[in-house]
Amino acid sequence: MRITADREVCCSAGQCALIAPDLFDQSDDDGSVVLLDAQPDTGRLDVLREVVSRCPTGAIRIEEDPGV
């Protein structure tokens, strides 16, 4: 599993940093998303799905590993 965060699309609402502060931060400059861990444990999938659903601009995506 891999996470991507598009800073161009990001509107700095900070939902990700609020929900999963160990995985996401915001830049001091303009508050846009800073990815702290692009390959978190698969156990975090539920939290990541919430981040994706609550990101107001769809800047964050999860690329799940293809099933065998």
Partner: protein, 400 residues
């Protein structure tokens, strides 16, 4: 595929209970994905009461937030829509202009930066609670505490002197009251812009170590834009968080089981704040957008120029989205509410508001463990005719 249409309805605004959205929403939400709505200027537009459709609309590229295309959803003499927004007043603009202005501010309102403001917020909260103590049982919590805290915090952040605060607060109140007359609104607008016309040049000549000082040193905004931005910050911060603070206290006092849970386990505070935001959703009139082009949405053909009102209070009680949607449950973990909007316009100050609410509720219930209403709950006067909903006064008492 276009669904059959019912005749247009006006925006429901009558509430039979202060903690619940206007009664007229649920039958519409049950009935259809999008409702034909009649606007007071005689035009027909649309109303959204469901969560999924609200989220989709607020991120849809065919809809604009630009002020010049919006129409007031309820009868009012206030002219807050229909003309282009002032330079720097970015809330009712679209990208790229909206984003260019907003990006200059977002760094000040991150989760981390706003949490760092907690000591300043705690100081202000405790000073206002000292005043509450001095005022004694029977005091009005709105006047002494909930209206004062958020306005003091924003004034401190942008360097507005305390001596100006109450006057500004009155102007914001007048401009948020739907029943304000044209002369009242004009007086408030000129009071506000008169203040900014004095205040901004002084700040530009001597930029201090605060948010406005940083913006001025950044050198990207002219005097007019700084005025528009300061006005946006003031009007965005004052009555929004104030009403939410007051509504949260009122609601918790009327839900003693939930308040007891919160007292027992302060770890619940973060979730409690989210649940209160969802349950109460003080944005009385919701969010407005208008179609930039003919577009099919939620099974209907929306015509270019038609206005859509997203009824945020109804959306956050959608039973399709939430189990027991009409129940206050401070332990709820399924948030994702739209109380602060969605899409690129989602509330800029949301994390500041969260910090103020958390610190405010904690300190109030900690220092006044026997706090209760001083009047029967059905006698609490509500701001029924305001853009943001909340009690206009909340008389409280406690054991000395």
């Amino acid at each position: 595929m276009v669904d059959a249409l019912h005749p247009p309805v006006p925006l429901p605004t009558k509430r039979s209970h202060p903690f619940n959205p206007p009664d007229g929403y649920s039958p519409l939400r049950e009935r259809e994905r999008i409702t034909r709505m009649s606007y007071p200027d005689g035009s027909s537009g649309w109303l959204i009461t469901r969560h999924a459709e609200a989220k989709e609309l607020l991120t849809h590229k065919s809809f604009s937030a630009r002020q010049e295309g919006l129409v007031a959803p309820v009868p009012t003499e206030l002219q807050y829509d229909g003309v282009a927004a002032d330079p720097g007043a970015f809330a009712k603009t679209d990208d790229p202009i909206h984003g260019q202005y907003r990006k200059l501010l977002t760094g000040f309102f991150t989760v981390r930066r706003t949490r760092q403001l907690a000591p300043m917020i705690e100081r202000i909260v405790h000073e206002q609670l000292d005043d509450l103590e001095k005022a004694g049982p029977g005091a009005d919590l709105v006047e002494v505490f909930t209206d004062s805290v958020p306005s003091r915090v924003m004034c401190e952040m942008i360097g507005v002197p305390e001596s100006e605060r109450k006057t500004l607060q009155r102007h914001v109140e007048t401009l948020g009251r739907l029943s304000s007359t044209v002369p009242e609104a004009l007086a408030a607008v000129s009071g506000m812009s008169g203040f900014l016309a004095r205040f901004i040049p002084v700040k530009m000549a001597d930029p201090r170590d605060d948010l406005l000082g940083d913006l001025i040193r950044g050198g990207q905004l002219n005097e007019q834009e700084l005025m528009g931005m300061a006005a946006t910050l003031i009007s965005g911060a004052f009555d929004t968080t104030g009403n939410m603070l007051a509504m949260g206290v009122f609601t918790l006092l009327e839900h003693p089981d939930q308040l007891a849970r919160l007292r027992e386990d302060q770890e619940l505070m973060g979730a409690a704040v989210e649940e209160l935001l969802r349950f109460l959703t003080i944005s009385h009139l919701g969010a407005g957008r208008w179609a930039l082009e003919d577009v099919e949405f939620a099974g209907q053909a929306i015509k270019k120029g038609e206005v859509v009102t997203v009824a945020l209070p109804a959306v956050n009680r959608d039973p399709e989205r939430y189990d027991n949607a009409d129940q206050l449950d401070i332990g709820r973990t399924d948030h994702g509410h739209l109380a602060l909007g969605h899409g690129v316009h989602q509330c800029l100050g949301q994390h500041l508001a969260r910090t103020i609410l958390r610190v405010g509720y904690e300190a109030l219930f900690d220092r006044f463990p026997t706090l209760r209403l001083a009047v029967p709950s059905d006698e609490v006067p509500m701001r029924d005719d305001f853009v943001h909903y909340g009690p206009s006064s909340l008389p409280v008492t406690w054991d000395d």
